[in-house]
């Protein structure tokens, strides 16, 4: 067995892909325009919403105060709202599923916040501090969070593009070809990021749902989706790279189609297992993680879709526009 693991035997061992390929064939490359259209139909409303409405900002981006208060005497929302209104701090009151109240105010002064809390205790009832949270974010920190997040996305994307170009530089066409692979992966990645952000913009601003709030956990989710999206795309591209070597008689379109078919089972199964884990997180993971799990769920499904139906067709289109010598 160890003998078979020797490097350099790959070529002689290579199984003829035409035999190994599944018999059923879907011509994904031939119908690429349909898939591009589907993506656009999903993405465009999201982009419109992002431009027109922006996002529903979480406390770490908006700045200000957010209290998660659990009252021991279980007051109604009206009671809490009335008490908050008397404070004159532009407070927004929301009640969560387990009876905790989320109150947002614009104060940033500690003494004022403590006074606010003790006033509420007097008017509504004692606060269960063990089950409460209190976030206060100044404008400086909020601005920095957004800036460093944007920087992280740009730097990570650039590095991934360079890494892919480096890894795929050995296929026919050299570095130019490498950047075609890397660039297509990057476009698919942007597709996933826009789709995810668009859906959250719609959830947060059109449906006014708290789950559509953009906070640092959402940011984490976007960055994870970036990683996963590239992950999926690389698996397909890696197969294309391999098939380009072992089956030089096929056209590039045929190689790409074949590679998609060969990796489809893996893409579906892997995405499915991750979706299983995320579903359990979404259903049982507690309030704080729900929005995060939903974002990941959307992003991972989108990532699996885009690697098959966007990244690879894009690669074919790109190679047509900018041919490399075979």
């Amino acid at each position: 067995m160890a003998e078979l693991s020797r490097p350099g035997v790959a070529a002689e061992e290579a199984a003829p892909p035409a035999v190994a390929a599944p018999t059923r064939r879907l011509d994904i490359i031939g119908r690429r325009n349909v898939f591009f259209l589907i993506s656009l139909v999903i993405i465009i409303p999201g982009i419109v919403s992002m431009v027109a409405n922006g996002f529903r900002l979480g406390i770490d981006f908006a700045g200000g105060n957010e209290f998660f208060l659990a009252f021991q005497n279980r007051p109604t929302q009206q009671q809490v709202e009335a008490a908050v209104a008397q404070e004159g701090v532009n407070g927004l009151v929301q009640q969560t599923g387990n009876g905790t109240f989320i109150i947002r105010t614009s104060q940033t002064d500690t003494a004022a916040r403590e006074r606010f809390k003790s006033d509420l205790e007097k008017k509504v009832g004692p606060i269960d501090t063990d089950n409460s949270r209190d976030d206060q974010v100044g404008a400086t920190i909020a601005g920095e969070t957004v800036r460093s997040a944007a920087l992280a996305i740009v730097v990570a994307s650039t590095l991934i593009l360079l890494y892919l170009a480096f890894r795929f530089r050995k296929v026919q066409g050299g570095w130019r070809s490498g950047f075609q692979f890397g660039g297509s992966a990057l476009l698919a990645l942007l597709h996933d990021v826009f789709l995810l952000c668009g859906i959250f913009s719609i959830l947060g601003t059109v449906f006014k749902l708290r789950i559509g709030e953009i906070d640092s956990l959402f940011l984490t989710a976007v960055l994870t989706v970036v990683g996963f999206s590239v992950h999926d795309t690389i698996v397909v591209f890696d197969r294309i790279r391999e098939n380009m070597i072992v089956s030089s008689r096929l056209t590039f379109e045929q190689v790409v189609n074949l590679s998609i078919m060969q990796t489809a089972a893996r893409s579906i199964i892997t995405s499915f297992t991750v979706v299983l884990v995320l579903l359990s997180l979404l259903l049982f993971g507690g309030d704080t993680l729900k929005g995060f799990a939903l974002a990941l769920l959307i992003g991972i499904v989108s990532g699996a879709y885009s690697s098959i139906f966007n990244a690879t067709p894009l690669l074919v289109v790109w190679r047509r526009l900018q041919p490399v010598r075979r």
């Binding site: 100044g138 984490t220 990683g227």
Partner: protein
Amino acid sequence: MQFVTSGLVRAIVVVLLAFSLFVDGAGYVYRVVNHYPLTGPVPGLPPSFGGWPLYMHYGLDLKGGTDIQLQLTDFPPGQDRQSVQQRFIEVVQKRVNALGVSEPTVQPGGGGNHDRVEVQLPGVGTAQAVKLLGEKGKLVITRWVPDSSITAGPYPGFKPEITKMTSDMLTSASAGLNPQTGAGWVVNFQFNSEGAGIFNQLTTDAYNVCQSQGTSAAQCHVTNWLDLSPDDIAQWNTKGLDLYKSRDQGGKLISDPSIPNGAIPNGQGYIEGNFSQDSAKNLAILFNSGSIPVNFTLLSSYEVGASLGAQSIKLSVAAALLGLFVVIVFMVAFYRLPGLLASLALLSYAGVVLAVFKMVPVTLTLAGLAGFILSVGMAVDANVLIFERFKEEMRAGRTISAAVDAAVRRAWPAIRDSNTSTLITSLVLIFAAPIQVKGFAVTLAIGVIISLVTAIIITHNMLAIVLNFGWARTGGLLGVARGRA
């Protein structure tokens, strides 16, 4: 890159697994023997090995407490910013330690500007934390000097003048009961010789005025303030009365005693100020820790109740276990024997990762927990890639052992490239991301690296070992249409 199933590689795997078992096992044996709870730090000697802690460190969002970001301003001119920041941190640490907080962290930030400090206090509320940090803690002692322009304030015609005495001249301060009456709390203090000399002069002057003009005269008093500044005195006509209020009422006054009974020569005495036990203790802590050398503002604070954090852990762990269980059921149903082996690899993966988290130590936050759960998904992916490839190679007509080797070798470039890109993302996040995302990036990066090792080496080795047995080489167990030995 080849993973030869050599004795050396197998030895590494065994050492790795033994390491994770040792870390977890030793920690839990210690806890059970000593009747401590199974998670979190334990009092006294914690489970540790050669200085490495063997318990999970939880972030504030999981164990409850306060996180405060401070912006330092008004650095004293001509001083090294970094050393000013360091001094600030030392003072804060002394105050925090005096409060008896377990596992506090006080970290410098702000990069080259040295103008940020982050303070994390488990089990302490924001109000208490801010009270602790919110004052520079500088004892200011003033005498009263005549000034005809002063028309308002506690003593019209007089304003306070800051003396050369500072808290730095204090050698000790402590809270105690009033030594004369035995009731009511006071703060005892002791000045060094320089301070004692100045204090002797001050009290002598005041005593002489008391003798000639009575105790209601302004200059009969030696007044104690907390953080009274020259700016405050410059606006004495408008702000004087407010500043002359106690700290509870928003002023800066500690006490304003008259000196009717003679000078205090030895620099030793006590401050009466209608203290409660807590406020006397807090004041003593402030004096003992020294004064904070710069001004600062609160950038953000974050407070989580303890039960809320415990609940988050419970829910996330339950979700993680459920997810792991579902994945294992799915893998075994779909891939049979290899699926079972991959599940074992997955469990050892989880064991190694948790052991590494304890040793490093990684502070586990909610986002960090999510990163760990996600890395489990990535570990599964590597196995799926290998098994799908294995089925393909079997269909192409290889023998079982040849197919296993070819599958691992052919799947490797995809596994390497995809995990490298995830690693790139998490490394960028560790360095560039906002602080809340860092915990996630750290656990994801550790998870990805370890999953590469377990998925490729452990799964491959287990397959190779098990396939030595004839009973394992059947198509049904391997999940392929036909098996050839």
